[in-house]
């Protein structure tokens, strides 16, 4: 069988980080091809190369589609040949109707006047195809995420689709919506439309996929054919991970003997917070939480479990409303009512989104490092530039930030070095407790190891460290204790040594009434 799509030797670099190297990937006509791999393995990057988000010339290698080499300059080029991508973050305009969203790019009509009748009729047809029972005039904001996903697919079908790419389509869907979506994929397959399915949910993958390709650290590890006998989830996971946990994480010997005996350095009790827009939605539900001196505590959970919201509501009420609860630092009640007060009380929060919430990208390293503690370099509010430079150079050396000089713009650093700048900024405030939200997101493996070492040193220096992460192996590898959060409550707690991915997932799922078989191994 001739391949519909062949990606040959694709390599892609981001400033200093190799995101893809020599990736091979083929899709046959009418197959469902699953693409799996850990966070940061390069799945999304590969799809962005395919769809022209990264134009021809910004990567090495060749894309052959339908027997012809293609050089997409942008997403319109790839759509023209029938490659349609549906991103993880939906690209719908909330205050427009379903019909308007579907035909946003090229509505049917003449001379620029939209033919409403045709729009209505075709929208109804498309909605029927995806099995969505909604009026074309319903505003997108008024339907749930699952239905929005279907609208995205209907939008894709309004174009000439040959290859449909779905990036984590079921990540935020309920069990029922996910099943419906997968059935839809099988239906498309029957009509000869090929799909690439990117998913973390291996049970779904093995249910619908014809073949499975595993990516790891930007390389193709293997492609497995599901028709040669069932592919076991364990086998996929082994290929996805393949690194022994021993060497991925620095050795950790907690200074406080055992995890139970260090004194609590940070404690919150009965903490609750409500959604900033929906005042009646309680997102954080009366949590009790504590960190001991020298301890690394992980918070595990799925996306939307409320982990970031919890952290930010603590950190100067930076998220949510109607926040209540008691916080103690070193045994004394702490005033965390504004960010400034939280910092002064000894709290630091390293955001999960360093580009939008963490850094001044247009400013240099020096200015970023000192931003949260300017008084320390500015007696009488006048900045001592020599002292500032000394501080920045000191952190540059200690954190091993790779740059030309501390005058380099942070926007031009690699992800790992940017993260080190953010960490430097918070260390310069000399915090007692650090909350690190996804500290290694989008960072290459080498830099990850360095970040883990820094986290270790901080704990050894007697600070309390909280790590929020979606990567369970990471939490298991570095934490002394792991708390599991789901829907704004803690649903389980494990000592670092005894935690496994399966136990964590089971704790999360117990509430959702999912059978353990469907969990990651």
């Amino acid at each position: 069988m001739n391949a519909l799509l062949e990606m040959q030797g694709i390599s892609k670099n981001f400033t200093g980080v190799k995101a893809l190297s020599d990736v091979r990937f083929t899709v046959r006509p009418g197959e469902i091809h699953a693409l799996v791999g850990e966070n940061g393995a390069g799945k999304s990057t590969l799809m962005k190369v395919l769809s022209g988000v990264y134009p021809h010339g910004s990567y090495d290698g060749a894309i052959v589609f339908d027997g012809e080499e293609r050089r997409f300059r942008d997403i319109t080029d790839s759509e023209a040949v029938g490659i349609i991508i549906i991103h993880q973050e939906l690209a719908l305009i909330p205050l427009m109707s379903i019909a308007e969203n579907i035909f946003i790019a090229n509505p049917p009509g003449r001379f620029g006047i939209i033919d409403r009748g045709t729009v209505q009729r075709r929208t109804r047809e498309l909605l029927a195809k995806v099995g969505l029972d909604e009026s074309p005039d319903t505003l997108v904001t008024n339907i749930g995420v699952g239905k929005q996903q279907l609208v995205e697919i209907a939008k894709a079908l309004s174009k000439k689709v040959r290859l449909l790419i779905l990036d984590e389509p079921t990540a935020s869907l309920s069990e029922k919506d996910s099943a419906a979506l997968l059935d839809l994929l099988l239906e498309f397959k029957a009509q000869g439309i090929a799909s690439i399915l990117i998913s973390h949910k291996l049970n779904e993958v093995s249910k619908v996929a014809d073949r499975i390709t595993v990516l790891r650290d930007g390389r193709t590890v293997d492609t497995m054919d599901c028709h040669d006998g069932a592919v076991e989830e364990d086998r996929i996971i082994a290929k996805m991970v393949d690194r022994d946990l021993e060497h991925r994480y620095p050795k950790r010997e907690p200074k406080s003997p055992g995890t139970g005996s260090g004194e609590p350095i940070f404690k919150v009790s009965n903490w609750s917070a409500y959604h900033p827009q929906h005042a009646d939605r309680q997102v954080i539900k009366n949590l009790d939480f504590e960190v001991r001196r020298g301890e690394i505590v992980g918070i595990a959970g799925l996306m939307g479990a409320g982990r970031t919201e919890f952290a930010m509501s603590i950190f100067g009420r930076a998220w949510g409303q109607k926040i209540s609860g008691r916080a103690e630092i070193e045994g004394r009640e702490a005033d965390l009512s504004t960010v400034r007060r939280a910092i002064d009380a000894g709290l630091a929060y390293v955001t999960e989104d360093r580009k939008h919430l963490g850094l001044l990208l247009a400013e240099d390293i020096r200015k970023n490092v000192t931003l949260a503690n300017l008084p320390a370099i500015a007696p009488a509010r006048v900045i001592d530039d020599v002292e500032e430079l000394r501080v920045a150079a000191d952190y540059r050396a200690r954190m091993r930030i790779r740059c030309h000089s501390v005058f380099q713009e942070t926007g031009k650093l690699s992800g790992g070095n940017q993260q080190k700048v953010v960490l430097s900024k918070w260390l310069f405030t000399d915090p007692k407790v650090l909350i690190l939200d996804e500290p290694t997101r989008g960072i290459d493996v080498g830099a990850k190891y360095e970040i883990y070492c820094i986290i270790n040193e901080l704990a050894d220096a007697g600070k309390g460290v909280v790590v929020i992460s979606s990567e369970m192996p990471e939490l298991i590898g570095i934490c002394d204790r792991i708390c599991v959060m789901n829907e704004g409550s803690f649903v389980g707690e494990f000592a670092g040594g005894e935690a496994t991915q399966e136990k964590i997932m089971r704790a999360i799922m117990r509430k959702g009434e999912t059978r353990p078989k469907e969990l990651l191994a």
């Binding site: 950190f315 960010v339 400034r340 955001t351 963490g358 900045i383």
Partner: protein
């Protein structure tokens, strides 16, 4: 030794490349001045005209200092022209109709400007209403109020002491000095020396801490040029009637704001708010309060500019301040400020204002009508910003 020298060279090249933008603006200003000096047969730099040039543009420069901060935080203030006009009108009513002494009247006016800035900044900072809308409303409100309190009439003249704010010159210390004003010349010389001394001290500090510096020859040349230019202008000013009072105010304000933006924590925080408001907020910076304060500051400076303008005309007219906001905003953008916030320098805004001023003055001398003057100014604004964007993209 030679190895060290080898290492130094590329650094210098890099330094020049990185700073070309700043020098570029300065060079543009000089080029424009030389151009008009030539085509006006030397009228531009005649002492009388140069003094007038300063007087004509002082209020634009003063407002540009405040506008720069507003733009750096990512906002805009369209009301400054109307506010300046309104404050001038209030000053006239106070001093002319109610015979209030000029010192309390001036203070009342500055406080009033601050209050107007606060009233607008409050909506922008704490209610998150776009500054464009708030200050557009302010523009209409204060234009209307100026008309109302002047009852559509011009009010004047001001007490002679108040006029001195704009039309006065610093007192001459040396009696019977002839055509030249030695005190003004001496102040110019001291200023020139002080700037050169500051530059040398800064360079010594940078070298002591191994910070990238510009090539020494270039540095020397730059300082020599700076010194001679300041001295030459001081000489020109001194050969007319000496330093205008308003120039002294202006230079003091420029120095103050340059220091504030580059060396103080509040300046640093203002740039952080404009560069990434969310990150700034999560770093413990009180973003709302800073935004609010930049508007208060803008209000005070608009009031000061209004007073200077009224004193210069010696009357408050309902039309005073009309369109000032456009010149002020243009000055900031020509001077390299970014419409997205976080970027812009005091020096740039001042040079931008001077470029506009020299062009206004030069074209008026040439007899170009007000119609085509506007066309040319508009094109210069667009060109300057395009060039800036182009350079940034290439970098």
């Amino acid at each position: 030794m030679s190895e060290a020298a080898l290492k130094e060279k590329p650094q210098h090249a890099g330094f020049l490349k990185n700073n070309l933008r700043e020098y570029g603006m300065m060079i543009s200003l000089f080029a424009i001045m030389i151009f008009f000096e030539v085509v006006t047969d030397g009228t531009l730099l005649r002492p009388l005209n140069l003094t007038n040039l300063v007087l004509q543009n002082s209020y634009i420069v003063i407002m540009a200092l405040g506008m720069l901060l507003v733009i750096v935080t990512g906002h805009i203030d369209l009301s400054v022209g109307s506010v300046a006009g309104f404050v001038g009108a209030v000053a006239a009513v106070l001093m002319v109709k109610f015979n209030v002494h000029y010192i309390p009247a001036t203070l009342i006016c500055l406080v009033l400007g601050g209050a107007i800035g606060a009233a607008q900044g409050y909506w922008v900072a704490y209610f998150k209403i776009p500054s464009f809308i708030v200050t557009l409303a302010g523009m209409l409100v204060f234009k209307g109020l100026a008309l109302a309190i002047l009852a559509g009439q011009s009010v004047g003249p001001f007490p002679p002491t108040f006029q001195k704010l704009s039309s006065g010159f610093i007192p001459e210390m040396v009696p019977d000095a002839g055509a030249l004003y030695p005190t003004s010349l001496a102040i110019g010389a001291v200023l020139a020396l002080a700037m050169v001394w500051l530059n040398f001290r800064g360079r010594a500090r940078q070298e002591a801490h191994h910070i990238e510096t510009e090539p020494y020859g270039f540095f020397l040349g730059k300082n020599l040029l700076l010194f001679s230019v300041i001295l030459y202008f001081a000489y020109l000013i001194a050969s007319h009637r000496g330093l205008p009072n308003v120039l002294v105010i202006m230079v003091a304000l420029i120095a103050l704001y340059a220091f504030l933006t580059t060396r103080t924590t509040i300046g640093r925080q203002i740039y952080a708010v404009g560069g990434n408001e969310k990150a700034a907020k999560l770093s413990g910076i009180k973003t709302e309060r800073l935004t609010f304060l930049t508007f208060v500051n803008m209000g005070v400076l608009a009031a000061l500019a209004g007073l200077v303008f009224a004193a210069r005309l010696n009357t408050a007219t309902p039309k005073a301040g009309l369109g000032f906001e456009l010149d002020v905003i243009a000055a900031c953008f020509i001077g390299g400020a970014s419409a997205y916030g976080g970027v812009g320098k005091v020096g740039g805004a001042v040079i931008g204002a001077l470029i506009m001023g020299v062009m206004n003055n030069g074209m008026s001398i040439l007899g170009i009508g007000i119609d085509y003057q506007q066309v040319i100014k508009g094109l210069v604004l667009l060109g300057a910003v395009c060039l800036d964007v182009y350079n940034q993209r290439r970098a």
